[in-house]
Chain length 115, copies 2
């Protein structure tokens, strides 16, 4: 190695401060959590989750979820599908209506992760 | 009101179960929280936050954040800008390099909200 090359390398090291590397979380974990976070990162979906959280038995009929949000039933159904796909709510048919229940373990998982 | 109309109304009530309405969270709060959640809802940004969280003084030089993520510096800088815009990290210039620090109060706000 020539003196010039060595000098350049030393300069590089001095420019970027010595790293106190901490490893990032595993990419697969980050991807899984980002998927849940994307599902909740919407004002209407946060409002739906908040209704379910405080509803009796943490469940509600889809027909009771449109008025409080001021959105059409297809729009509310779309948001509920996104939440169901992320495992945040579960869906059950009762008579003519779909009922949605909170899956608290999934939100717990998110909270623990953010700790 | 005729008997027929009354019957129809009663039927409507019986189809959609009696609502135990709980009010959703305020729309403005939901929008503000959705904005922070969108900023963290990305695998690379979650990895950046995890590095900062465990780094000495919860800060790191941008030049030390590219290698652990295996991403280019422009890409890392873009992700850091999204986090900074959401108030999750703060930016400071030191010599030739930008340093980023975690803003723990913002993540605390998110965690409290998810409680």
């Amino acid at each position: 190695m020539t003196g010039v090359t060595k000098e350049l390398l030393l300069e590089d090291i001095s420019v970027c401060p010595p790293a106190n590397h901490t490893e990032p979380i595993d990419r697969a974990v980050a991807e899984s959590m980002a998927m849940i976070l994307k599902a909740v990162a919407d004002p209407a979906r946060l409002q739906l989750l908040s209704i379910l959280k405080y509803a009796p038995n943490q469940e509600a009929c889809v027909c009771d979820l449109t008025a409080p949000l001021g959105l059409s039933q297809p729009t509310v159904s779309h948001h509920l599908k996104v939440l169901a796909d992320a495992g945040l709510v579960s869906r059950e048919r009762r008579g003519s209506w779909a009922w949605f229940s909170l899956v608290p373990v999934r939100l717990d998982e998110l909270r623990s992760f953010l700790e």
